[in-house]
Symmetry: C2
Subunit: 320 residues, 2 copies
Amino acid sequence: MSHMTVSENATLADVGEFGLIDALTGLFTPGEQVLVGPGDDAALVAFPGNRVLVSTDLHVDTRHFRRDWASALEIGHRVAAANLSDINAMGGRATALTVGLAAPADLPVSWALDLARGIAEEAALVGACVVGGDLTAADQVMVAVTVLGTADQPVRRSGARPGDLVALAGRQGWAAGGLAVLARGFRSPRALVEAYRRPEPPYAAGPEAAALGATAMIDVSDGLLADAGHIARASGVALDIRSADLEVPEPLRAVGAALGVDPMRFVLTGGDDHALVATYPAGTALPDTWTVVGAVVEGEAVTVDGAGYDGPPGHAHFGG
Amino acid sequence: MSHMTVSENATLADVGEFGLIDALTGLFTPGEQVLVGPGDDAALVAFPGNRVLVSTDLHVDTRHFRRDWASALEIGHRVAAANLSDINAMGGRATALTVGLAAPADLPVSWALDLARGIAEEAALVGACVVGGDLTAADQVMVAVTVLGTADQPVRRSGARPGDLVALAGRQGWAAGGLAVLARGFRSPRALVEAYRRPEPPYAAGPEAAALGATAMIDVSDGLLADAGHIARASGVALDIRSADLEVPEPLRAVGAALGVDPMRFVLTGGDDHALVATYPAGTALPDTWTVVGAVVEGEAVTVDGAGYDGPPGHAHFGG
């Protein structure tokens, strides 16, 4: 199939729905699992097993991303990472994504193409690819991503038992620190801003946790305490986090000092790094990927050093 | 799991993200194919084969639906039907859906719940169910639906060959007539308005076409001529539609007379009924489900009675 060439200054209105779909489709290289790719009524994807993991996330302009805080390429990486992380959090491997883009007619075509490139690049990190999608006009830019995946042994939120270890994989608090910096009009520390713009989920750690016998797992998207709370609620247990075992990296300390905020707050309540929180039977020998940061105990809810946390545990939509 | 009781007058802001998710989850009865349903990082769905069909559609308030033209329950049926029809158009059977809802905080909770009920009811018509989703705040109501399905023998758009029959299954033009009526502030003919509010895709006809050896298939969502054009382009052929073989039902004739429009225009360019257009080898014995309405010929593009059609073949986003 030949794909149209699009001027960098063109808008969606200039090229129209089908022109942009042609241009986008050319960016999505199908993997061998793709039997029918973009351009038909549905895509057809081969799966190694008879069970499919599926998860959907919506990403709304000015709420989940800001076009003046990150490039379209980075936003593509961000939205794909958020969805790929959901499969990671089940101990699975992502294989295919669909992407819906709703946007005003004056959106530059180049923005849409860069977004698609970022999504495709992030998906390629785990061997997944974009197999289909939809494109429509709307007042606000919104990206809807659905990811399909496979897991030999899915790890749910509900299996944590008193006595289990609580362990963390991946960076935690960096993206929240970057967001705090950007929200105040700064662009440094660079490491934190980059962590916000282009998170690096620990993609190897999810399947690793499943193989190690994790009893429960979740990825941190609402905040460490909020998401630990989802495990606690689903499992009918309490989780106690030991703050001394949480790393507070130097750039977060610098931001905390500059903004007059306890940097531990970013670590405890930040999302968007897509770290994994998992519980393991006591005595599980964990590789360096994982840091033990607490324990599962009888009860409900989440405590920090044995006490309730004074502050919101994470992000709430609708102010609810 | 217990589910919260929600006041009819409450808004999303009153109950918050997690409160509404709890209430919505209670509406989605998992079928036996659902191994992990809503409430974890991803759902897990069993499939009879090793191949999965997947398709995503976005539905934007004031563009794909209007809240003053149809109830939330009807809009739920509409958006689900559009997605289920994509699996139908591959000759497949839908098994699972994910639903993303983006909405302003002042949206009534009852509207969101009725939308979910409509989606669940429509999915149940084909034995599919909602297995997961996402909920977020946005300026505009938007519904993102992804449907998964299975097909023994997927029918693509690209297999039409000169000499094939072109056949149609399902109502065509009814929803477009209903839309024209609603757009002018009327509420009748009732049959057309109902067809717009709650389309009735010919769900049995898709798998039937696959079993009958259809060479190409698509569902009519952009308009009969526009979607026939997608088959023509993908197959490298031309399709000629014979207008005398297209039924123009009485209510469409009435609307045409009232509005001073040729009612055949609704049939040729209307979408939203989710009729199926398929091509079959000449001589295929077709059941009553299917009406032969034309032929595949050498060439490209779509003609009506051997001539080009004077007018837009269907709906274009972004004015492109």
